[in-house]
């Protein structure tokens, strides 16, 4: 269980990215974080594993306060938190296997990681995870040889290799086409359910969030302005989150996308005949 208590972040330029965010995510819950760009979604996620240093507040992960930890303690806590990135953030010139194994870096001493001599158990787990995400045949490929969807699967496997107690997911589908996006979201929700993992998913695509999330938190200008189940996310709530204009343009985008999807369905149906 993750609890944020009065979390605030003010950048050195004076911009306040987060102010007084308080919420908690129980075990097994997948929480979607929506909001216009610049609302502080990315900052919030990065504050939790302290890639961004919060200015005030507490972050409790199963009763350990992550704020104010020293370097080596932070390192030990970070391995409990898996992170999945928007542009996959794989180390492109390493093999898929090395990328998955890099999830174990927090657990192994430097010489093992340097010589790529990981413990047998870690390697076995890495193979199992690659099998789970459907990439077992690609283990020895260099990760820049994979497609976007495949890379994001490697990203998921890397995060799971950490054996995490929490997943932070930053715009997992922003660089993917609608179909692959859905596959990735389904995979994410499945692996979370299998492991009872709580997850915070930062997502800009509202319909996708409504389809896959159990709970949605709306952020605007660094403040929580909505918190509830997806079916309570109606037009007025979205207007609060995104503002009048943005919301309308988003809806147009959404219509376009659903049209495109219907189009694609028709074409696939035509192919199947």
């Amino acid at each position: 269980m993750l609890t944020l208590d009065g979390l605030s972040k003010t950048y050195r330029t004076g911009d306040s990215a987060l102010s007084d965010v308080t919420l908690s995510v129980p075990k097994g819950q997948i929480m979607g974080l929506i909001g216009p760009s610049g609302a502080g979604k990315s900052t919030l996620i990065r504050c939790i594993n302290r890639l961004v240093e919060p200015t005030a507040g507490r972050i409790l992960l199963n009763d350990v306060n992550l704020v104010g930890l020293g370097k080596s303690d932070l390192r030990r806590q970070r391995r409990r938190i898996g992170m999945i990135f928007q542009e996959y953030a794989l180390v492109e010139r390493l093999t898929v296997m090395e990328n998955v194994l890099s999830g174990r870096l927090g657990y192994v001493p430097f010489w093992r990681s340097f010589l790529r001599k990981y413990p047998e158990f870690d390697i076995q787990r890495a193979y199992q995870l690659l099998d789970r995400v459907g990439l077992i045949d690609h283990a020895d490929k260099r990760s820049d040889a994979l497609s976007g969807g495949q890379r994001q699967r490697v990203g998921i496997a890397r995060a799971l290799a950490q054996d995490p107690e929490l997943l932070l997911v930053d715009e997992p589908t922003a660089s993917l086409d609608p179909k692959t996006s859905r596959q990735i979201m389904r995979l994410l929700t499945e692996v979370c359910a299998e492991r009872g993992l709580p997850a915070i998913v930062n997502i800009h695509d509202v319909p996708l969030a409504q389809q896959f999330m159990q709970r949605i938190v709306g952020l605007r200008a660094g403040r929580v302005v909505f918190d509830g189940p997806p079916d309570r996310l109606k037009e007025d709530a979205l207007t609060t989150i995104y503002g009048e204009e943005d919301w309308n343009t988003m809806r147009q985008g959404e219509e376009e996308q659903s049209q495109a999807e219907a189009d694609a369905r028709d074409r696939i149906a035509a192919l199947a005949q």
Partner: protein, 270 residues
């Protein structure tokens, strides 16, 4: 100066004032040139200058035909030259890597103390030519291959260090961030996040520098630091111009060959 006056037509779409400034700029350059020319040539003995064509013809006639039999004495010095370049590059790269990591903004452990020191090492190494390094080292540790190797190594630090630290600063931060987020230690982040990204640059820079070092090590012998330059110096001292031409042709062939090798290797890596 006809080249320069022609340029004004290009700039003519500029405003009156900019044109004036430009004219003054060119004028200042010409004045500066004339002034420098006068200072530089105050001690020039013009008799020698007017005599130069005759001297050139004289040297030219002595250089041909090259004394090809001399080449048998050159294989060992050539091997020495290759070793100076290769071992020097090796040593330079080994020293340059830590300097580059200290100098890169995103990997330096201390931006206030170590980074300026590393940058100074790079600048100092880069501004002093390997021949000057060799001159110093021959005076300090005596003539021989070692002085040449160390000179090449010291000169290479700056070159490799500068290009490498720029490559480190240009790495994709999202990849490093992802490795950091797994709870990796500082060294592991370097090993997994940064090193794979700079590997192609690293090999390219190293081979490129090796190529330059072959070129530079051919002349280090002029100050006593071993290699084929020693033979060049000896032949020049005895005015054996027909041997000089053999040496120069051999140097030329070596340089062309090393350039070809380096181009092939770089092509294969990138």
């Amino acid at each position: 100066m006809t080249e320069i006056t022609r340029y004004n037509q290009f700039w003519s779409h500029r405003t009156q004032r900019e044109r004036l400034a430009l004219w003054i700029g060119w004028l200042a350059l010409v004045a500066l040139f004339v002034w420098c020319w006068q200072i530089m040539t105050t001690d020039t003995i013009w008799f020698f200058v007017s005599d130069a064509p005759r001297q050139a013809a004289d040297i030219g006639s002595r250089m041909v035909p090259p004394r090809w039999s001399y080449i048998s004495e050159l294989w060992v010095p050539l091997w020495d030259t290759l070793n100076i370049a290769t071992l020097g590059t090796l040593g330079g790269v080994i020293m340059a890597v830590p300097v580059a990591f200290l100098a890169a903004r995103n990997t330096t452990p201390s931006a206030t103390v170590l980074r300026p020191i590393a940058l100074f090492i790079i600048v100092a190494s880069r501004s002093i030519n390997s021949l000057i390094w060799a001159l110093l080292l021959v005076a300090i540790i005596g003539p021989g291959l070692l002085a040449g190797i160390v000179a090449i190594a010291l000169r290479s630090i700056g070159f490799v260090g500068k290009l490498l630290y720029e490559a480190i600063e240009e790495t994709d931060t999202s990849q490093t961030e992802a490795i950091e987020a797994t709870g990796a230690s500082g060294l592991q982040v370097l090993n997994y996040g940064i090193v794979p990204q700079i590997m192609p640059a690293f090999w390219g820079i190293t081979v490129f520098r090796w190529d330059i070092n072959i070129r530079e090590s051919t002349i280090l012998g002029l100050v006593g630091a071993g290699g084929i330059g020693l033979k060049l110096q000896a032949s020049l001292n005895t005015l054996a111009w027909s041997q000089v031409s053999v040496i120069l042709l051999l140097i030329l062939a070596t340089v062309v060959l090393s350039e070809w090798v380096s181009a092939r290797v770089r092509h294969a890596i990138i």
